[in-house]
Symmetry: C2
Subunit: 799 residues, 2 copies
């Protein structure tokens, strides 16, 4: 059993995919509604697939270029295998496949949800959440399957009998990093490109349709309306899915790298052995991910309501129950898995503090910190962005004095929301590290990500319900259908905001785990910002998220302008379009959004990928570490700020729909205050749907690119296979000649990742020489901590 534990995650991944197929065929079997509804749904589906198709073409070019670059690295660096290229391609294909499956089912589930809503709200929830479940399980199943399969293959490829376990495993994991890089590259296209797409279509549709032509949202006469609905799927379903796919894979990978590092730490004195082919700490995160799929399946089965007149609160409760059961099951399973798979106590090297004995239960506590902080950051996000809470009400109040005060209030809410989020995040780093080092940090992230399938199911159901509303509107169904889908949509908006909090928290923890893995891979002496080059790059890194956000925001503006012109042209040129007798050319709008999104994402994408490569090659490993830290710190701040400001503005505007009390007066849609709130919402749109979520990709991809090029930078090579930090200075001594009166000792100190050889002479009697040697060695050890490993003992021969 133990030695075949790698098959556990594989089995659960396959189970997840099977369950996904069952759910998928169930959703497809549901009634799809009238021909008109199916026609609209089909148009959305085709638009979404058209975007994916165009994305894949651009991606193909990217994959070819990246593969050539990886080929170069593999030629240049011994520890990087050529197999990183198929790993990279597999990662890209699996992520794209998961996105494709999710998009297809989401665009099929929308009309079926609308049809179900004709008769039953519980059934509508079941269909829409079923669609979300397919997406969630597709992402989680493919991610775990890909990781465990490739890991299994690379084990067979690179682990040599009698070779150094740590250095062999390093090659396995470095090659596996290709899978993660492939996945995250897709996320870049899906999240950034998708973010630009969705907002360009949204803004374009609203500006001409609502404002200029005065027709309602989702009106079939608006040529951009299909593009708008496609955008919901492209941005919120495929973008979020690819983002979490990337986080999920990267987190597990980083935890595996750090697990390998533990094994190395524990092999200082004696070879590490356990029942899991001596790789329990490496396999653990993979197994937890697998078990998380099972927990998520159970959770999804519990999401149901029975009351046809249910309100938002009951729907929310049903989702919460499923979510908490999944999380709870994962927590319980983690306890047993950690006890089973890890040694009772582990020796971990803590930077600057030497080796510590860590009981395995501390790893469990670290994982629990991950679960708790994930939940708490989601709650903070909900507080700052939910209807009826103080922050949103403050923005509403400030809308009464105009757009400017609305904007200032919204900016302030976003900025203030960083306070608790960052404190929680800092506490998570500090707590999980204190408990179990960077392995603890990675396990905290892994535990948080273990229920990704469930999180995504909850996230993806919102856009499906939103689309169902659109289908209902466009096919002119009875009002009660739209009312029911609106209930689901409203819950979906809350889960979307919370999901964004979860996505940031997971991206940030993932980035940190990758950062730690990067440091161990390069074998540098930590990242010291009291070096000017590191400090300078910390500033440069801090600037990148700001500029990236600006570029993303501007891209939305440009793309929206193209859309506006196209919609205006159609209104002008197509006869009978406003009377409903002429058919708008929906596909043209879809095409414009697609082209604009993909064109506009190239520059920010290049900045993300190329900057760390340049910094690494020009300045070296430690400045690149400073850059990565700068990107993470600033990126987390700007992600929270932009997401929460955008979410708060959105709900401040929505507050007016039901009417809201300002200074004792009920104020509604159409008032001046509402107009001010609409301005805020328009500013917030690119914040919360484009630049904000893009930060997740930016910080993860930066750290991942660093990890992939780490072998080029570090002093780390296959010959030594040793990653050295300050506390572990290896002293190699070889006596060249001895005599009764003197010993010439050549000794090698590994410092700052470089070997420095020097010769020292001791003179005296044989006894004196022995004692001097010993004292010298003690001196070296005293200064460099207790965990010095003397590779070769000195053997003094008498002359």
């Amino acid at each position: 059993m133990e030695s075949n534990v790698i098959f556990i995650p594989m089995a659960f991944a396959i189970l997840g995919l099977l369950f996904m197929f069952i759910k998928m065929s169930w959703v497809k079997k549901q009634a799809a509604g009238s021909e008109k509804m199916q026609g609209i749904s089909k148009a959305i589906k085709e638009g979404a697939l058209a975007f994916l198709g165009a994305e894949y073409r651009l991606l193909l070019i990217f994959v070819v270029i990246a593969s050539v670059a990886l080929f170069g690295i593999a030629q240049y660096v011994d520890t990087t295998s050529i197999l990183i290229i198929p790993a990279f391609i597999t990662g890209a294909v699996f992520s794209a496949l998961a996105g494709n499956v999710g998009m297809r089912i989401a665009t099929e589930a929308n009309t079926r949800t609308a049809e179900a809503a004709k008769t039953s709200l519980p059934q509508a929830l079941k269909v829409s959440f079923g669609g979300g479940t397919v997406m969630g399980l597709g992402v989680a199943g493919l991610a775990v399957l890909g990781l465990s399969l490739l890991f299994f293959i690379f084990l067979g490829q690179f682990m040599t009998d009698g070779g150094d376990f740590y250095s062999d495993m390093t090659i396995v994991l470095e090659t596996l990093a290709g899978f993660s890089l492939g996945a995250e590259s897709i996320a870049l296209f899906a999240r950034v490109g998708g973010g630009i797409y969705t907002k360009a279509a949204d803004v374009g549709a609203d500006l001409v349709g609502k404002v200029e032509a005065g027709i309602p949202e989702d009106d079939p006469r608006n040529p951009a309306t299909i593009a708008d609905n496609v955008g919901d799927n492209v941005g919120d379903v495929a973008g979020m899915g690819a983002d979490l796919f990337g986080s999920y894979v990267a987190t597990v990978l980083a935890a595996m790298v750090l697990g390998n590092y533990i094994i190395k730490d524990m092999s200082v004195t004696t070879q590490f052995t356990d029942a899991f082919n001596n790789m329990g700490p490496i396999l653990l995160p993979l197994v937890i991910a697998g078990v998380g799929i099972l927990a998520s399946i159970i959770g999804t089965l519990l999401v149901r309501i029975s009351n046809n007149d249910a309100k938002e609160a009951q729907v929310q409760r049903a989702l919460d129950i499923g979510n908490w059961v999944a999380i709870g099951l994962t927590a319980v399973a983690s306890w047993f898995l950690i006890r089973w798979m890890l040694p009772m106590t582990m020796e971990m090297s803590f930077f600057g503090e030497g080796i510590k004995e860590i009981p395995s239960r501390h790893v469990f506590y670290a994982a629990m910190i991950g679960l708790a902080v994930g939940a708490l950051i989601s709650m903070v996000t909900a507080h700052y962005t939910s209807l009826g809470r103080k922050p949103v009400l403050g923005i509403v109040k400030n809308s009464s004095t105009g757009a400017a005060t609305n904007i200032i209030a919204g900016l302030a809410v976003g900025m203030k929301s960083t306070f608790l989020s960052v404190l929680l995040f800092a506490a998570a780093i500090y707590g999980s590290y204190t408990l179990a080092g960077f392995y603890g940090v990675a396990l905290a992230a892994s535990a948080m990500m273990a229920t990704t399938a469930m999180q995504l199911a909850i996230d993806a159901f919102g856009p499906i319900a939103d689309n169902a509303g659109g289908v209902a509107e466009m096919s002119e169904l009875e009002p009660h259908v739209r009312e029911r889908t609106d209930i689901l949509d409203s819950v979906g908006n809350t889960t979307a905001a919370v999901g964004k909090g979860f996505a940031i928290a997971s991206a940030a923890l993932t980035a940190l785990a990758l950062f730690a893995a990067y440091v161990t891979f390069t074998g540098i002496d930590g990242i010291n910002i009291f070096r000017a080059d590191v400090l300078a790059m910390l500033f440069v890194g801090g600037m990148i998220p700001v500029v990236f956000s600006a570029l993303a925001m501007q891209s939305v503006g440009k793309a929206a302008m193209e859309m506006v012109q196209e919609v205006r042209r159609q209104f002008r040129e197509i006869p009978g379009i406003m009377e409903g007798t002429g058919t708008p050319e929906y596909a043209k709008c879809v095409d414009i959004s697609t082209q604009a999104a993909l064109k506009e994402m190239i520059l920010p994408g290049l900045i993300t990928i190329i900057t760390p490569v340049i910094i690494g090659l020009v300045f070296g490993a430690e400045p690149l570490g400073g850059y990565m830290a700068g990107v993470c710190v600033s990126g987390v701040m700007w992600a929270i700020f932009q997401n929460n400001a955008g979410g708060a503005w959105d709900n401040a505007k929505k507050s007016f729909e039901a009417g809201v009390e300002i200074n004792g007066e009920m104020t509604y849609k159409g008032s001046d205050a509402h107009k001010a709130a609409v301005t805020g919402d328009t500013v917030g749109d690119p914040f919360k749907d484009t630049s904000g979520p893009s930060m997740n990709i930016l910080i993860k991809l930066t750290c991942l690119v660093g990890l992939v090029i780490a072998p080029i930078l570090g002093g780390h090579s296959s010959e030594t296979g040793m990653a050295i930090n300050e506390e572990e200075v290896s002293v190699e001594m070889a006596v060249e000649s001895t005599d009764m009166a003197s010993a010439t000792v050549q000794y090698t100190v590994i410092k700052d990742g470089e070997k420095v050889s020097e010769i020292i002479m001791f003179e005296g009697t044989e006894s004196e020489v022995y004692k001097q040697l010993e004292a010298f060695e003690t001196g070296i050890k005293k200064q460099s901590g207790d965990n010095v490993k003397v590779i070769e003992k000195v053997d003094i021969k008498k002359r």
Copy 2:
């Protein structure tokens, strides 16, 4: 001569102050205009002094509390002298005095400028720039005088004959840090409080006056109009003055600390000696500052125009000539001073790279980098915020589609402006460090700040001209007077934007120099962000500027609301106010702004001062270093973003005043696009005048508080008087008992700033024991670099 070089900066400081008095009496001698004009000017002056008075009362409380805290530190830490309290109070008093002089002259110069403008534009420039010169020389003169006087006194107090130079000097400089802390505390009150004041009054006056009552800006019927004009002085004159006073002092101080560190590095082998009482590197920054005052005086004399019909370009040219001459003279003088005062080559310890030989001309090059980067960052600022340039025109264009697109465009301009600014800044750190270590970074900052007197003269003349326009409007002078003051005001707006760029650049470099001084003071092993506690605090530090900005923005909103209500009340209750027969109660509005500003600045002020203290005491020196770095990185980003976005929005709005072409159509004031631009400007107001400039204070004060509490945190105490870094591990050995067969050695290693004592036994014959001891010591040294200084040699006695 050489040994009395300390009197050079004193002499130049006194010369500067004398020149200030001459200018002041000249300005006062100018005709002050009609009784009505003098009345208005008096009201502004009284309002400004009322604010200062209220500020001083609050300050007194703060000074008492801070003094008690410093007393506590002085009791607890041996190296901190009780004299830090008078130093602190002197710093506060000198900065307050400089602000007071500047405010008085600015409020006297305004009406005299208006009077001069009746007949002559050159004369109006002379008067307004004369007022600015008084401010500039007051700040620079008092700063240099205070620093050099206190340094001289503390030298006599703490330097002991035969004592360790480095440790005695450390006490001198730590005590001198009190002066800097006092100065920066005033800056906190003046910049943050003043920033809230000026915008509360501005927004309050505009909202009720312009928008509700429909009367023009600066109309005497508006009760808030005096408060508005007071605000210009409080924020732009006193706030900017205190900000630069603080930067100036802190920069020179940090350079002195790092100069002391060079002397220590050079004393490893032999005692450092030079003709300047062995403290050339410490005195150099002070002397450069003194010479900078002379250069500034010469520069100010060149600012003049002769043509009565001159336009903005000619006025700008006159300012530029003065500025460049001052900078050029400083550069030339620096060359000779550096050759004169520094050894031809210096030994500096570079973190992780050991000792390097640095020729003194490299220090000059580093200083030139400071001058160049200061100028370049100012140019970048000008590009992003000036009328008629691409960024501002882009915002103008986006105003045509409404407030939302105007806001998005403005945010994007601010965000994008971080790109070049941060790259330049990073290049400055990297370049000046590579040339001459952190001493080079500090000298770059010192050179940049050397012409502070000139910079402030240019900065302060703008608000004086602005006020002169206000006086002209309120006293209903002829239109050509306002036209002339408008020319000066318009130039003043440009110099204000550029000045903000200069203020950020100087604050950032100052903060870095303080950061470097902090690391040397605490004697820690650098700041390694591969430690979770340091990394966590890096995130917390990154969050503080964001939350601080939000609080500052909200404070403006709250204070403005109070102002609005008061103005509405006066319009309602004072009979004949709108007809000009009733007199508004100006003082009430001044009072409201004053109280609100001071009340609202308490929370951000406390956060700034207390957070680093808590982090230092709870987590230690290295995490506090991480926090400081986080505050700096994030603070610089948010300062640039907010200042430049605000400046760009302001000028986008101003573009409409002369008319601007949008999509081929001329668009003017009153158009929808203009209204959208006004919204942007209103959002930008707190950005550029409150939260943006506050960042300067936040980052400097954070580093300064760290520096002052550094002795509590580090392993640094008066017994050893040694600042230790990784490369310099001191080994103290004391033999407790020896016999023929064994030696028990108690040795102390200073690691991570903490002393660790251990006992080791060597056994053998006397000769063996000696040799073992030596080998042991060699071993320790080998591992910790070549520049180990053994404080106490072991002396083995025979039994």
